[in-house]
Subunit: 429 residues, 2 copies
């Protein structure tokens, strides 16, 4: 596999000698620590970078001066963290205000950067996190503080633009596919009890995860039978018609729904909007679409229905992660360090897929400002005409990303997942 990087660009700017900071942000994925370890391990190879600090809980760790000295960790610890689910440094969803709203946070961040001589800033996260990285990059420039800021893509949702796909997604897709495959076999053997299963995936605005469940299907009778996407306006009547049709043909119905289905008017089909259920970025927290549709099917079709909600398991199931995904999560972390040293500050690492039958990829970069707060949706032509399943193009796109299994050391029947001790936070300077 060719893994060369486009490192042309501004080589005239002097590479600053100094320390680096790495942080993780947003919802973790099974492979988020791969990227972290890659940053640490790659950084150690470059003399320009001296100390390696980790910020606890994303940008908040920098604001609160909660740092961990990652050079002090044993190599074996760093290596073991690679297969630990959750964000080893801790994560956050804190939203930095824009400079015009308030420069307070930025002044604090740059002040701490100065104090620790932080010259390299690596931020592992999704589109909200790229907004954070972008704002830090802009603030540093504005305050004339030389800081090389690189975003490292991570999101189970796969909704980052400018990259073919995003580390974290492949493992989520693989875990959902096996869950649908196994639960589908279970459903088909239940002759006279449950008839309908609704599995709810993550995906507020994009159906990448929901669509990936189609990987479980090898024949017409195989689950899933129907998939519903946030990209396609949801009609309850059409839904009922679809369910009836599959039921009459196959005798059971396995439905996958993305958590964020919207009606023709763009309103969420079933959103709970209350005080605690909106995140820091103002996104409504959606829960209950599967329960809602279960009630609809039971009352309108009188078919006994069960719901499955893997929820954060699809973001943390290291025990069935994709090896390709893990390798790519490492790759983007490693490339981030190279890009920082190559004068690509203000960029996020991207993955480009090369054309051809055999899956090949290489990395590149994109300006953070182009990625922040945007969303890549499933192309309409990758969803079938009826809007209730994926096309072959979708399958061809996602299949390479779930390949390979990860060896997890199991002790007494369960893995031993390492963590960084919270007490390792450094005393404030």
């Amino acid at each position: 596999m060719r893994e060369d990087t486009d490192l042309k660009g501004n080589r005239e700017r002097a590479r600053p000698k100094g320390n680096c900071i790495v942080a993780q942000s947003g919802g973790p994925t099974a492979v988020i620590n791969e990227s972290l370890c890659a940053v640490i391990q790659e950084t150690k190879r470059h003399k320009e970078i001296e100390e390696i600090y980790g910020a606890r809980n994303g940008i908040l760790g920098l604001l609160k001066e909660e740092l961990i000295d990652l050079r002090k960790e044993k190599s074996s610890t760093i290596d073991s963290l690679r297969t630990a689910p959750g964000a080893a440094l801790g994560s956050c969803r804190y939203r930095l205000k824009s400079w015009n709203e308030s420069s307070k946070d930025f002044e604090k961040i740059i002040e701490i950067c100065r104090r620790y001589n932080l010259r390299y800033f690596f931020y592992i996260g999704g589109n909200d996190s790229m907004d954070t990285a972008n704002k830090v990059d802009e603030a540093a420039k504005r305050m004339k503080y030389q800081l090389e800021v690189i975003g490292i893509p991570k999101t189970v949702d796969n909704d980052l633009v400018s990259t073919d796909h995003c580390p974290g997604f492949g493992s989520g897709a693989k875990y959902l596919a096996i869950s649908v495959m196994e639960a589908g076999r279970h459903l088909e053997s239940l002759y006279d009890s449950e008839t309908v299963i609704i599995l709810e995936t993550l995906g507020r605005n994009t159906g990448w995860l929901a669509g990936s469940c189609a990987l479980a299907k090898r024949s017409e009778e195989d689950a899933p039978h129907l998939i519903y996407f946030p990209e396609i306006p949801f009609s309850l009547d059409k839904f009922i018609k679809d369910v009836k049709e599959v039921y009459h043909k196959i005798g059971e119905v396995f439905i996958v729904v993305s958590e964020g289905l919207r009606d023709e008017k763009g309103n969420y089909v079933h959103a709970r909007k209350n005080r605690v259920s909106t995140d820091a970025f103002g996104h409504p927290e959606l829960e209950g679409i599967s329960n809602y549709l279960k009630e609809v099917i039971e009352s309108r079709l009188k078919l006994k229905t069960r719901t499955i909600k893997p929820d954060i398991c699809q973001q943390s199931a290291m025990h069935f992660a994709s090896k390709v995904d893990m390798e790519e999560a490492y790759l983007v972390g490693k490339e981030a360090v190279k890009s920082a040293l190559g004068g690509k500050s203000g960029s996020m690492i991207t993955i480009r897929r090369e054309t051809g039958r055999i899956y090949k990829r290489r990395t590149s970069t994109v300006k953070l400002s182009l990625v922040a707060n945007t969303e890549k949706r499933v192309p309409r032509r990758w969803i079938n005409r009826k809007g209730n399943f994926v096309t072959k193009e979708f399958i061809d796109y996602v299949r390479p990303l779930i390949q390979g299994e990860v060896d997890i050391a199991v002790q007494k029947g369960l893995p031993y997942y390492l963590r960084l001790e919270k007490r390792k936070i450094l005393a404030k300077k």
Copy 2:
């Protein structure tokens, strides 16, 4: 490991020469097909048993004369079925009426037994299924038809009496433990977003699966922090107090709840009772305890809460099944054949645990009538004084049952699970 069986008993009764029938009933488990394959493979070793028929969908296959000739399947097919989730023959929840209510079904069953010269009847299932097997045994005796009926224990719930534990449970427990372990790591890295996770396990009346989630915990901060059992009357005020206490101590709360929590008066805390939501055995189908408790926590404690509902994935997750569980599922199938030939008709195979530090077990038998429709609950002393976690005795009991991993052949990133084709049903005689 000693795996000898108590085969003393009525050896005077002549072993009938004839054909056998095997069926699967109730909710499948990840390892239910192990028992099926054991019956087929062991049967082939005994000359007394000629044809081997499988009934489609449990007792319904016998009533409808939907039989499969299992001798016609290749050995390699039978062997591959061992790791396929779902019930390979199909399952049912059909309840036979008592003889006094109606003897119609029994007359039909015995008539078909005569027609196919069925002399051995193996029924793989849980306590409801043992009721079916028991009734068939009694009807055969009443109708003076010599039929050796043996029940083969299977239930993810682990609620069968007279057996130390039940095949299917270990794999469910292992899958739930890894899910809690991984989701727990995810939760602890979310600094400023979700604070509470509620994972809902199966278990209408017994907390075996919920309690097993405790295997995920190795230190105080590890998930799960609280577990609630159907065996302990549920108090909402106590629950809120528990959640608050953990939150103040650890900063996040991972709660496991069994689907069937009851209040002091014995009423389900949150049961939906409508026409489609009661199964054939009259058990109310419970859904929504986790959603209900989420709402309670969000409104009373203002803590953002997510729910996880693995549902039937805990019954079908072959990709992380327990090897010990698989071996035992095979063992009880094999012993069933030996017991049928040993004149133990009217019994279910049981597993006895030998005393001592190292886990050893042997099989035995119990009268079907003693197992049918009963339920083994978690002993009070295996739940802590506060009623919100297990004790060491519970852990010592369950840990041996989740040991060992199963090798699943993975092709292109996902397993290839075999199925018996539906079209293989024999023409009626």
